[in-house]
Amino acid sequence: MVIYLLLIYAIIVVIDPYGLLKQGKKRDFYVCSALCLVSFSLAFALSMHWDIPSPSPTIIYMVKKLF
C-alpha cells in the first residue's frame, strides 16, 4: 500500500506543484507544495494504519464546557 502511495504521489507532485512551478506561479507553487506535504503525511499515516488525532473530541469537549 505504501509503495502504491509513493508512486501515486510521485505522479501528483509532477502534475500539481511542479506544473505550477513550470508555469512560473511561484507563490502558488509554495502553497501547493505545503498542502501536498500535509496531504501526503495524512495519506501515509492512513496507509500505515497509524492513529491520527481527530479534532471532534476537542470540539465536543469545548462545546460541552461552554454549555
Binding site: 501528483i12 502534475i15 500539481d16 505550477l20 506561479k25 507563490r27 502558488d28 507553487f29 502553497v31 501547493c32 498542502l35 501536498c36 500535509v38 496531504s39 495524512l42 495519506a43 492512513l46 491520527i52 481527530s54 479534532p55 471532534s56 470540539i59 465536543i60 462545546v63 461552554l66 454549555f67
Partner: protein, 368 residues
C-alpha cells in the same frame, strides 16, 4: 482566467441542492418526535432573516465574496484570521458530509468495502468539477436538481399507500421545548450552512440578485425537507424514526406496489449521492477560494487537488464511528456552527453598513 459568473437559475439550483444535501438522508434532529415537521417550518422561517443579512452583504459589497468582504471590512490581519476560520469550517463541513456518505456506504450497500474508497471517488469527482470552475458546478446543479425533483416526487407518490396518519397524532405530545431544540438543530443543519455559498458570491450575477437566490433556495429546499420528513414520519412513525441513522433509506425500502415495484431504495440513494456531490463541491470551492485569497494566489485552482485530498483523508479519521457522527451532527453541531453561521456574518454586516454609510457621508462632504 476570466471572471466567473453563474446565472440566477443555476445559483438557486446550487443553493437548493446544498441545503437538502445530507439532511435529506440523515433526517432532521429527532427530539420532538411527531412534531419534527413544526420544528422544520420554524427553522425555515428563522433562516429567512439570516438569508436577508447574507443578501445585504452582496448589495453592500457587490462583486466580493466572503473572504474579500472579511479582508476589506476587518483589515488584512483580522480579515485573514477570520478567513482561515471559514476555510476550516468549509473544509470541516465537506469532510462531515463525505463521512456521512462513507458511513452510509459502510453500513448499508458496501459493507465490506473500506470507507475511504467511496469517499475518495466522490472526492475526486468534486475536485474535477471545482477545477472546472463554479460555472460547471452551476450547470451540473441545474440538471441534477431536475433529476432530484423527479426522484423525490415519484418516491413520494409511491409511498402514499404506506402512510399511517395516526403517526402524526397527538401533535406537540411532549410540548414546545423539544420542538425549539429541534428548530435550532434544523436551523444550523442544514439551512444556515448556506453561509458557505458566500464564498462564491463574487460569481453571482448582478447587485440584488442574492435575495432572490437565497430566499427561493431556502424556501424550495425547506419544502423538500419538510415533505421528506413528513413522509418518513408517516411511514415509520416517530419512535422508529428517531432510532435510525438513515431514516429515508428505510422509509423508501418499505415501498411495495403489488409485489412488483419493490426494493427501490437504491434510487433514493442516488439522490443522496447527487446532493452530497454538490454540497462537497461547494465546500471545496469555498475552502480553495479562501486559501487563494489569504495567500494571494493567482487562482484557486492551484490548490484544488491538494485541498480535496486533505478533505477526503480528514473525513476518514474525523469520527471514531457512526455513533459519534450522529451525536456530533444532532447535538454538538448546532452550537459549534453558530459562530460561523450567525455571529461572524452579523458582525460583518454591521461593520459593512457602518463602512458604507461613512463612504456615503464622505462623498456628500466632498460634493459640498
Amino acid at each position: 482566467m476570466g471572471k466567473e459568473n453563474i446565472p440566477a437559475g443555476q445559483s438557486i439550483s446550487i443553493a437548493v441542492l446544498f441545503i437538502i444535501g445530507s439532511s435529506l438522508f440523515m433526517g432532521a434532529s429527532g427530539q420532538s418526535g411527531n412534531s419534527s415537521w413544526i420544528a422544520i417550518i420554524l427553522a425555515m422561517l428563522l433562516a429567512l432573516p439570516l438569508m436577508l443579512i447574507y443578501a445585504r452583504l452582496h448589495v453592500l459589497l457587490p462583486g466580493k465574496d466572503l473572504f474579500d468582504m472579511l479582508i476589506l471590512v476587518f483589515g488584512a490581519v483580522a480579515g485573514r484570521v477570520l478567513s482561515c476560520l471559514y476555510i476550516w469550517y468549509a473544509l470541516h463541513l465537506g469532510s462531515l458530509v463525505l463521512r456521512n456518505f462513507g458511513e452510509f456506504g459502510k453500513s448499508v450497500p458496501l459493507t465490506s468495502t473500506p470507507m475511504l474508497a467511496p469517499m475518495l471517488i466522490i472526492g475526486l469527482l468534486c475536485v474535477w468539477v471545482v477545477k472546472g470552475g463554479i460555472e460547471v458546478l452551476g450547470r451540473s446543479s441545474k440538471f441534477l436538481l431536475l433529476f432530484t425533483f423527479g426522484v423525490i416526487v415519484v418516491v413520494q407518490l409511491l409511498s402514499i399507500p404506506k402512510f399511517q396518519f395516526h403517526h402524526l397524532l397527538p401533535v406537540l405530545d411532549s410540548g414546545w421545548k423539544p420542538v425549539f431544540t429541534d428548530m435550532m438543530g434544523s436551523f444550523t443543519f442544514p439551512f444556515a450552512e448556506i453561509v458557505v455559498f458566500l464564498g462564491a458570491f463574487h460569481a453571482l450575477p448582478q447587485k440584488g440578485s442574492a435575495v432572490r437566490i437565497l430566499i427561493s433556495g431556502t424556501l424550495i429546499a425547506g419544502v423538500i425537507i419538510l415533505l421528506v420528513t413528513i413522509r418518513n414520519l408517516l411511514v415509520l412513525g416517530p419512535d422508529l424514526l428517531s432510532s435510525l441513522y438513515f431514516p429515508s433509506y428505510v422509509a423508501v425500502s418499505r415501498i411495495n406496489i403489488g409485489d412488483f415495484l419493490t426494493r427501490i431504495e437504491g434510487s433514493s440513494a442516488i439522490v443522496f449521492v447527487t446532493t452530497l456531490f454538490v454540497k462537497v463541491s461547494l465546500c471545496l470551492y469555498a475552502a480553495c477560494n479562501g486559501v487563494a485569497k489569504v495567500f494571494k494566489l493567482s487562482s484557486y485552482r492551484s490548490v484544488v487537488l491538494q485541498m480535496g485530498l486533505i478533505m477526503v483523508y480528514f473525513a476518514d479519521f474525523i469520527y471514531k464511528d457512526i455513533m459519534q457522527m450522529d451525536y456530533f451532527a444532532h447535538h454538538i453541531y448546532k452550537i459549534y456552527a453558530l459562530p460561523f453561521q450567525v455571529v461572524i456574518p452579523v458582525i460583518l454586516w454591521i461593520a459593512a453598513e457602518i463602512l458604507a454609510r461613512k463612504k456615503i457621508r464622505k462623498q456628500k462632504t466632498a460634493q459640498n
